[in-house]
């Protein structure tokens, strides 16, 4: 199916659940609210003419700097191996108590990227077997890929980088 056909079919099947659709550069993109995600995901996987059986990726985006609501977004890239077509689901997530239901019941491959969603953005994934840190250490504070998380540098004892050097000289004069 072409991207237009996929979008049209979904619009007709879920007039109330799909918030919006788009076709940027020919990709099929649908916008879904978090509470309708599982309903739409189940249909996408099971419908014989769509059959999105392969989950490519789940990724989070923090739209803090942009003037838009809601702040977070989870993006699901799906692919159908039999029909060789793809779709992207964008799920907007509110800033207060950000949470999204899991899709790992449909695609086991979602387990890791969803855990990463919690680790990097602090988005709680409802129904996920492990809502804990994946890449960062367990005791880490803050969610690194949020836009309000500062980009900092680590102090090192020696560096050829001029900025590091000047900092070091100010804080601790080198002793020989």
């Amino acid at each position: 199916m072409t991207s237009e056909e996929i979008v049209e079919k979904l619009k007709a099947s879920f007039p109330d659940d799909i918030q919006d659709t788009a076709l940027p550069q020919g990709d099929a993109v649908i916008f879904v609210a978090p509470d309708r995600l599982q309903k739409v995901a189940g249909f996408l996987k099971d419908d014989p003419s769509l059959k999105f059986d392969y989950l490519s990726d789940v990724c989070g985006v923090d739209y803090l700097n942009e003037e838009r609501e809601p702040r977070f977004e989870a993006v699901y890239n799906l692919h159908s191996i039999d029909h060789q077509h793809s779709i992207r689901i964008r799920v907007g997530i509110e800033e207060d108590n950000p949470s999204v239901p899991t899709v790992s019941e449909f695609w086991k491959g979602a387990l890791y990227p969803e855990q990463e969603l919690f680790d990097m953005f602090g988005i709680h994934v409802e129904g996920h077997p492990k809502n804990e840190r994946l890449i960062m250490p367990k005791e880490w504070a803050g969610y690194p890929l949020r836009k309000d998380y500062p980009l900092t540098t680590e102090t090192v004892t020696f560096s050829y980088n001029r900025d590091f050097k000047s900092d070091l000289v100010k804080s601790k004069p080198p002793t020989r």
Binding site: P24, Q25, D27, D53, Y54, L55, S56, D57, C59, G60, V61, D62, N65, E66, V75, N77, H79, I81, Q84, R88, W107, K108, G109, A110, L111, Y112, P113, M120, R133, L134, I135, M136, P137, P144, L145, Y149, L151
Partner: protein, 399 residues
């Protein structure tokens, strides 16, 4: 947390907890897996990652598009051109520019050479893990030739950064083309040599056949990709299904096998090396002339000699060097077939010269839960074989 708190030393249970990694040489980097053992049989395998986390995605959000390309080299460090290409294709889709045919052919040659190099590292280390030392030395010998070719074209042996937004870094040189011609004549006999050592070797077959089996449905559901998926009987290669960089102009086969065990993954990858050589051969035969990067001066630098005579060129040069490429607002994802499977960058642009969000879809990262699922019920000696057969690279797992 101490060892006792984690339950590693509990004596009043039937199973034993065994820690493997992150310093274990057969985990191919810093991958840690906690195995719950019943005698010699693995009951559960709990992966633990993050030891190589360097915050690459966060770094990319604070660098210009041009500066991101050398960082992408460090993700999957065995197949850097694949990552460069994935990033450039996503950026070019947002920019909506056409890439000259010569640049596309050079990209294909570079990617396929690096796929061979990556598979050679995989074959060597995988065989070494299972106990075949000789293959390792032979594979390194051939990989060295590819690294020398990389040095000739880009000045660097591994982190080439050769593929750039709008084309490639520089045009093909005569010694590089001659070197590739020598290599494609030399290489097939060497692949036969590896196969002679392994394919019918009874020890190799005993250790790999029927071990770490994943059915077609499981492999799809657990998001395996690339050779590991094709060994389970799924005929899906992005070079064929969604051709990019002119892959539809080349005539090659996609090896697909049914059993989904370590042996089939081995055979798929060995055959892929042969097919990659065929693609390089075709690309060399019909290497088109013309530009090696797009003539659009908003994306690629104008030729040096025009700066003295053309004010337009001087302005473009100044803007590109001081500001970099500005990418129109939007979001996109372009998957490509890397050496390990589907690689793609999900890029969100806010219209400036710095990407708003860069997310790598890493095949190794997505394969880890499935790989640990595969280990359940296997013997402990097969765990290293399974890790080797999925061919994980921790650089792109932890990012």
């Amino acid at each position: 947390m101490s060892v006792t708190e984690q339950g590693l030393l509990e004596r009043d249970k039937d199973t034993m907890t065994l820690n493997m990694g992150p310093q274990h040489p057969s985990t191919h980097g810093v991958f840690r897996v906690i195995l719950e053992m019943d005698g010699e049989v693995v009951k559960t395998a709990e992966p633990e990652i993050g030891y190589l986390h360097t915050g690459i995605e966060k770094t990319c959000e604070n660098k210009r598009y041009v500066h991101v390309i050398p960082i992408t080299d460090r993700l999957d460090y065995l197949n850097p051109p694949g990552n460069n290409l994935a990033f450039c294709l996503s950026t070019e889709k947002l920019l909506d520019i056409e890439i000259p045919e010569r640049a596309q052919a050079l990209r294909v040659i570079m990617c396929e050479l690096s796929r061979i190099a990556s598979h050679l590292v995989w074959l060597g280390t995988h065989a070494l893990d299972i106990g075949a030392m000789t293959v390792f030395l032979y594979c390194w010998r051939e990989r060295e030739m590819i690294l020398d070719l990389n040095e000739e074209i880009s000045g660097v042996r591994m982190m080439t950064s050769y593929i750039r937004v709008g084309g490639v870094a520089k045009d093909a040189t005569r010694p590089w083309l001659d070197g590739i011609r020598d290599f494609i004549d030399y290489f097939p006999a060497k692949v036969d040599e590896y196969e002679k050592l392994l394919t019918k070797n009874p020890i190799w077959v005993d250790r790999t056949e029927g071990v770490g089996v994943f059915t077609r449905e499981e492999a799809i559901n657990w998001s395996l990709s690339g050779p590991a998926l094709r060994a389970s009987g799924v005929n899906w290669d992005i070079r064929k299904s969604k051709p990019y960089s002119g892959y539809d102009n080349y005539n090659f086969d996609v090896p697909v096998l049914k059993n989904g065990d370590i042996y089939d993954r081995y055979r798929v990858r060995v055959e892929e090396m042969r097919q990659s050589r065929i693609i390089i051969k075709q690309a060399m035969e019909k290497l088109p002339g013309g530009d090696f990067k797009t003539p659009d001066n908003k994306v690629s630098l104008p030729p040096r000699e025009t700066l003295h005579t053309s004010m337009e060129a001087l302005i473009h040069h100044f803007k590109l060097v001081s500001e970099g490429i500005s990418v129109p607002k939007g979001e996109t994802y372009v998957p490509i077939e890397g050496a390990r499977g589907e690689v793609g960058f999900y890029i969100v642009s806010d219209g400036t010269n710095v990407p708003y969000r860069v997310k790598l879809r890493a095949p190794s990262f997505m394969a880890i839960p499935g790989m640990c699922k595969m280990m359940e019920g296997c013997y402990i000696a097969d765990v290293v074989g399974i890790i080797g057969s999925i061919d994980i690279v921790m650089g792109e797992v932890d990012r």
